[in-house]
Amino acid sequence: MLYIKNLHFKQISIIKSLIIIFGGRDMANKRITEMGLPKSIGHIFAARNIITAKDALSLTEFELMELLDVGLAQVKSALALISEMTSPRYQTVQTLLDQRKQNEYLTGHLPTQLKGLDAALCGGLPFGALTELVGPSGIGKTQFCLKLSLLAALPSCYGGLDGQVIYIDVESKFSSRRLIEIGINSFPEVFCLDGIAKEMAGRITVLRPGSLTEFTESLQEIKVSVLQYKVKLLIVDSMAALVSGEYEQGPQRQHPLGWHISFLKSLAEFSRIPVVMTNQVRSRGANQISQYIFQESTVEDDTEKFDSRLVAALGIHWAHAVNIRLVLESRSGQRFIKVAKSPMSPTLAFPFQVTSMGIILLNDDGVEMAGPQINAIDHQGHSDIIFHGDER
């Protein structure tokens, strides 16, 4: 809460409204005194420095009996009340669905304008979810991100979201020139208007944090501005670059980005915007782990077969956290975009090209992929086939 001190007085009202939106849901730090416990026991809690629900619920009934010096029945009823007040309220799925249909444009999706992909994802990248792009360098991740930020900035009459975009550019790859080029080529009817290029590019805010700490700080600020200005998309390009120095393979109890995962997720969810992140790849380690202890080892065939394969950086914990994972790869001279993880879509692969319009799909049907190959990231003959759309 330290950073609050640095803010202008004006912004305090915004923070107050934020507290209603975020803090209102942050029941964990709700004070016990505000929960309507009987006064006598409420005072005992306060006297023993058990202030928040988090403090109380981290202790067992017996520890509380010792600490507060009261009987079991009283502790039980107090805990029951604290639990009830701290629990989130339920909604039926039907009411959730109705709300989305009512309040949100395109029932809460950002269309990628790649027809096949949009159909597979039921309309585009869903609001309130994390979408991840994984692929080798130069495959077109940043191109995809640029296109997406244009789409979110475009006026809604042209299929956009008509909002602001925050683009966190860790690797310094963002190119305004390329952005406008993609715009002119894919939406000539919009970009022929006078001053529109300036307006569209003006809606995209680029941040360049130099370290993980700086990134953490800017995230805190973003939380405020997402609600203040109509931000409709947040892009982080790339997440892996932030930790590539510090991250090592092997079992780890705590992920270096653990906090960021939950923060980005809650940010996406409570402000109902799509969050897009890119992830790098690294080569498959010698003893790449894809087997449980009860499975028979088939490592020997694998080493031959998967030699040219890559895996996503940031490991399995990260992969659990993202809602949608799109893998970009090149296989025998052709680039593919694959829906590797999605609660909605079957495991489809679409061939694509990078052109002056950004990414375009070669066909909209997609090939269904069988088995775990959907997660594999191919890199064959990639260097020969880079299609220089820019130079045309």
């Binding site: 029941m27 964990a28 988090k54 619920l57 981290s58 067992t60 009996m65 009261v70 009987g71 029945a73 805990l79 029951a80 639990s83 009830e84 701290t86 629990s87 989130p88 339920y90 909604q91 039926t92 799925v93 959730l96 669905l97 989305r100 039921c122 869903p126 979810a129 092997g250 079992p251 109890r253 705590q254 992920h255 653990g258 906090w259 939950s262 997720k265 809650s266 969810e269 003893n287 782990i289 894809s290 449980y292 202890i293 009860f294 499975q295 399995i316 914990h317 992969a319 659990h320 956290a321 993202v322 809602n323 994972r325 993880k341 609660p343 909605m344 069988a370 088995g371 190959q373 997660n375």
Partner: protein
């Protein structure tokens, strides 16, 4: 039984012991006013102490009437109960058959697997399937879906509910030809979605609070037959420095869930993530949260890739044989694996 074991506060126990009352028997014939005088407490407090003493001793005396220990059940009674116990279908026949009919009510079942294998899909499928009415061989209950990760997709739930509703219509058309057909009501997708109570949990404190509160919630909504937690892991994998605290909170939560499952005869399904574990000189995949957590669930199912097919493997169960079965994730939800159908046809 000793005074120390009474549910009293520490200072009251201290006073009793220092006044010489160490066993419950010694307190049985004391009057409240006498006790108040001796312990230097108010008379109402003394009355409360004596009340808890009589509660404690009653608990001991009635215990011998039916079974040897109060609250216990003989193995024979348990067998009777088990035979009448119900299962929630997974919509995949092979998976149901290795699970002895589906996800068992009254038990805690843990399901884990790599990202994208279909854990959330299975969770949503169960939340829909639990509502299949008795007439169709289902449980006819409602579902609680606790989302800790934000991975629940409303659109997907709608798809699965639509498919389930269509299947039910098909079933009634096949089995009730004639006038009966109109009597059996078919459920609309909307009904399915109305009966899923969705809780979004944003921190581990909320998660503990909710597991405590569920008891009351389910007492108010008696027809809840499945509680799905997707996933138990998420909040416990970050912002935890004190691993001992984590273990204790998790085991407390597991106990609570088991109690719920038994008390209300409902199925608790806990989804878990995977992590890497070093054993026998090699890294392996293993379910997250460590060894002590692995004791907390009754059944443990691991979803994994086997070649090009998705398989479910029973890793741990007191009553089921360890086995594995293929399944597939289709636009309609969880369904039997295609190639397996072919194999059965050959036989």
């Amino acid at each position: 039984m000793e005074v120390l074991r009474l549910p009293l506060s520490a200072s009251q126990k201290g006073k009793l012991i220092s006044a010489g009352y160490t066993s419950i028997a010694s307190l049985s014939s004391v009057s409240p006013s006498h006790l108040a005088l001796e312990l230097k407490v108010s008379e109402t407090e003394a009355l409360e102490i004596l009340k808890s003493v009589s509660d404690g001793s009653r608990l001991q005396s009635t215990s011998s009437s039916f079974t040897i220990v109060n609250g216990a059940q003989s193995a024979w009674d348990m067998l009777q109960e088990e035979e009448t116990s119900v299962h929630i279908t997974t919509s995949c026949a092979d998976l149901d058959s290795i699970l002895g009919g589906g996800i068992s009510c009254k038990e805690v079942t843990e399901i884990g697997g790599v990202p994208g294998i279909g854990k959330t899909q299975l969770g949503i499928q169960l939340a829909v399937n639990v509502q299949i009415p008795y007439d169709y061989g289902g449980v006819g209950g409602k579902a609680i879906y606790i989302d800790t990760e934000g991975s629940f997709m409303v659109e997907r739930a709608l798809q699965i509910a639509e498919a389930c509703s269509a299947d039910m219509a098909e079933y009634s058309r096949l089995h009730h030809k004639g006038p009966q057909a109109c009597e059996v009501k078919t459920m609309q997708p909307k009904d399915f979605l109305e009966n899923i109570f969705y809780f979004r949990v944003c921190s581990y404190t909320e998660q503990i609070a909710l597991t405590n509160y569920l008891d009351k919630f389910i007492t108010e909504h008696k027809d809840v037959k499945v509680v799905i937690i997707d996933s138990i892991t998420f909040h416990f994998r970050q912002d935890f420095d004190d691993m001992a605290l984590r273990t204790r909170i998790l085991s407390g939560m597991a106990l609570n869930l088991m109690k719920l499952a038994r008390k209300f005869g409902l199925a608790v399904v806990v989804l878990n993530q995977v992590t890497t574990k070093y054993a026998d000189g090699q890294f392996h995949l293993a379910l997250a949260l460590g060894d002590s957590w692995s004791h907390s669930s009754t059944n443990r199912i691991i979803l994994h890739w086997n070649g090009n097919e998705r398989y479910a493997y029973i890793d741990k169960s007191p009553s089921l044989r360890s086995a594995s079965a293929p399944y597939s994730v289709t636009p309609k939800g969880i369904r039997p694996s295609d190639s397996n159908n072919k194999r059965i046809k050959h036989v």
